[in-house]
């Protein structure tokens, strides 16, 4: 409706100065079309996926508390992230790994830790580590090694984890993050301390069948179940510098890491499946104090929003203890985030540093990289999220659009392909963020699953822009393309949807005039409000194929000409 009115005004101005500045008016007409799309699309534009839940407006009391805390205390947050690599086989043996496979089916003497079995490094693990190291702007160690980290736990069959200790494969990088617009936006750069390769442990399940756990008739209580499918699966551990100051920053850092590993194709980054696991360290100190406070580790963070909320809870908890003069009650410990109660609770207190008795893994040779190898990986790196965002920004897209489009690598690829076919940047962004995103959400589909191709979206945009079809018809075609596939031109031909040309519209106007002589007389008698009635009638007989701007222009000409 708004667009209709807008067009009307445009055609008025065209009429008022019909001979002057035709070029400019053409320009204006073109612009108005563009903004019409912008308007219709923006109205239904999806908000960027609420990656981090906890609405900015909601819970104002909590926000105020946090504001007050942030004036008095500074929080220091560092994150350790474990990324499970999407290799076909495990890190040191050829067992295939498939999430959700029948327990203990993908095992061999190496990953079960049987005596005499020797590990052999999967080349993909080194490749992925180098990829991620480069993408995180790290310095690579051309000579590194594996070490054994010893501890006893039932999910660790060998009694040690093969990891990297004093010489990690990559060190000293950084990650650029754009904070969401709805939280005030801003750009942050967080330091990366190190990236190292290691193996995952198996999965430990607590058997609650009561069979063994209740009865204590046996000296050993067999109460845990172990699945060793995951034992030996390759991980990259990424340790950040303690550069984050709020839960939001930490959650956005984690979200950016997820984006990065997905862009690189080194991991699916799925938090629910545990392919991306974050442990955060939080300490606070009074503003102005240089000494760090006691740091607390939080585990069991299964989503970005829980990272955000757990940290903010922990900051508030520690600040309360500080303000009550009970700072000594903040102890070095591991706390668990409880999603149900939205709290962190003590899991275990640390008594000094665990003695992992690291030493070089004698069964594995040195990890040697050479310049050629690193250069070839460097040159094969895809466009990374940060680069993509800066490029989209330079195209003139708003930050909201930029963040939405670059968030999902597949959406970004679709967008890139669409504009690659010559589609208008802003229009393509609006269609994707509006009707296409809504359709994906409703049908629970990814952009790769909908039947619309980027080429057809580009064609659709061009058809509307070239006035072959109206925006309204364009929308109908879009839904048909998304659901059933096909081509824009095919549907236009099949359904005879080509926009009516001026002479056809003229004929329709004449028809409406002849069918409604009374109203025509009233109009010419001064009741100019009736213009809307005529426009509606013409639109009706055109079955939506008349371009509203053109229709109004012709209609007005004809209404006023014979008076």
């Amino acid at each position: 409706m708004a667009s209709f009115l807008f067009r009307t005004i445009q055609s008025h101005s065209f009429l008022l100065c019909p001979t002057t500045l035709l070029r400019r008016n053409n320009g204006a007409f073109y612009c108005s079309m563009k903004s019409t799309h912008t308007q219709t699309a923006t109205q239904e534009k999806q908000q960027p996926p609420p990656k981090i839940k906890s609405s900015p407006q909601g819970n104002q009391a909590k926000t105020r508390t946090l504001d007050r805390i942030s004036k008095e205390y500074e929080a220091i947050i560092g994150i350790e992230t474990h990324v499970q690599l999407s290799t076909l086989t495990k890190a040191f043996c050829t067992c295939p790994y498939n999430y959700g496979a029948q327990p203990n089916t993908s095992v061999c003497p190496i990953c079960m830790g049987l005596p005499g079995a020797l590990p052999v490094v999967n080349s993909k693990v080194v490749e992925f580590a180098v990829k991620l190291g480069l993408a995180l702007n790290c310095k690579l160690s051309f000579n590194s090694k594996f070490d054994r980290k010893q501890y006893f736990y039932p999910d660790l069959p060998k009694g040690y984890q093969i990891s990297q200790f004093d010489i990690p494969i990559a060190t000293g990088g950084y990650l650029d993050v754009d904070l969401p617009v709805e939280y005030g936006g801003g750009h942050r750069r967080f330091g990366i301390t190190r990236v190292h390769m290691e193996e995952d442990a198996g999965k430990l399940l607590h058997a609650d069948d009561g069979e063994y756990s209740q009865e204590i008739t046996f000296p050993i209580i067999y109460a845990l179940q172990v699945d060793l499918n995951r034992a030996g699966v390759p991980l990259l551990e990424i340790v950040s510098e303690p550069d984050m100051r709020t839960g939001l920053e930490a959650a956005e850092y984690a979200a950016e890491l997820q984006r990065l590993v997905r862009y690189l194709g080194v991991s699916n980054g799925n938090m629910q499946e545990g392919s991306l696991r974050c442990d955060v360290n939080v300490s606070i100190r009074p503003v102005g104090q240089s000494k760090f406070g006691t740091k607390v580790e939080i585990k069991n963070l299964n989503s970005f929003s829980s990272i955000n909320r757990a940290i903010d809870f922990e900051i508030a908890r520690q600040a309360l203890l500080y303000s009550q003069g009970k700072a000594d009650q903040i102890v070095q410990e591991t706390r668990l985030w409880e999603e149900g109660s939205q709290k962190t609770v003590t899991m275990r207190k640390k008594e000094g540093l665990a003695d992992y008795r690291y030493f070089p893994e004698p069964d594995l040779p040195e990890v040697i990289l050479n310049k050629e190898y690193v250069d070839s990986i460097q040159s094969s790196l895809p466009e990374l999220p940060e680069m993509k965002r800066r490029r989209y920004e330079e195209m003139g897209l708003s930050m909201q659009d930029v963040l939405f489009l670059a968030n999902d690598i597949n959406v970004a690829r679709f967008f890139d392909a669409t504009i690659g076919k010559g589609a208008d940047v802003k229009l393509a962004a609006n269609w994707i963020m509006g009707d296409i995103a809504a359709h994906m959400k409703n049908e629970k589909l990814t952009i790769n699953e909908i039947k619309l191709s980027a080429a057809e979206l580009a064609e659709l945009i061009a058809s509307i822009k070239g006035a072959t079809i109206s925006g309204k018809i364009g929308k109908e075609i879009l839904f048909e393309l998304m659901a059933k596939g096909g081509t824009v031109n095919g549907i236009i031909k099949e359904k005879d949807l080509v926009q009516a040309n001026p002479s056809e519209i003229e004929k329709m106007v004449d028809k409406v005039f002849s069918e409604n002589p009374k109203q025509l007389e009233q109009y010419r008698g001064g009741k100019t409000k009736l213009q809307g009635f005529f426009a509606g009638q013409v639109m009706k007989i055109s079955k939506g194929k008349a371009n509203p701007g053109l229709l109004n222009k012709i209609l007005l000409e004809k209404l006023n000409a014979k008076s």
Binding site: T89, C95, P96, P115, P119, N122, P154, V226, R357
Partner: protein, 152 residues
Amino acid sequence: MGSRGLLLLKGAAPKHHIFNNTKGSIFSSKMPTRYYYYDYDYNNRTRNCSTTTTRSSLEPPDVPRLAQTARISLTPHEVEEFAPKIRQVIDWFGQLQDVDLDSVDPALRADSETGYLREDIPKTFKNRESMIAAVPSYDEPYIKVPKVLNKE
């Protein structure tokens, strides 16, 4: 691989050693070979191998603590018996520490073999059944292990 400690001290232990591994070991009862472990603080000692540490600077072993970190139980008599043997091993390292390495670049490894990497091609281990059969307590499809008693 498969060994749980750093240095394998074959023959350095009494024959009737009690292997009381309550945490973590899945295969302890069916292990074909008996291993004895001794841990060595790699970071504090061997990392500084280029310094001119003398033999006497290496501390004598705290055998009860070592046994505890390796999750094995030793009788007082065994502790007494082990101590000099472990001391002997430490002294060997003491001798190595005495070597002047100031002019030698540190090596991560004794050898630098190349072409050790493997292609990422899945291959399923054929004899899984016999491995699973050797698990002391197996409850299809899980391996059952003792409940973890957290000492901390």
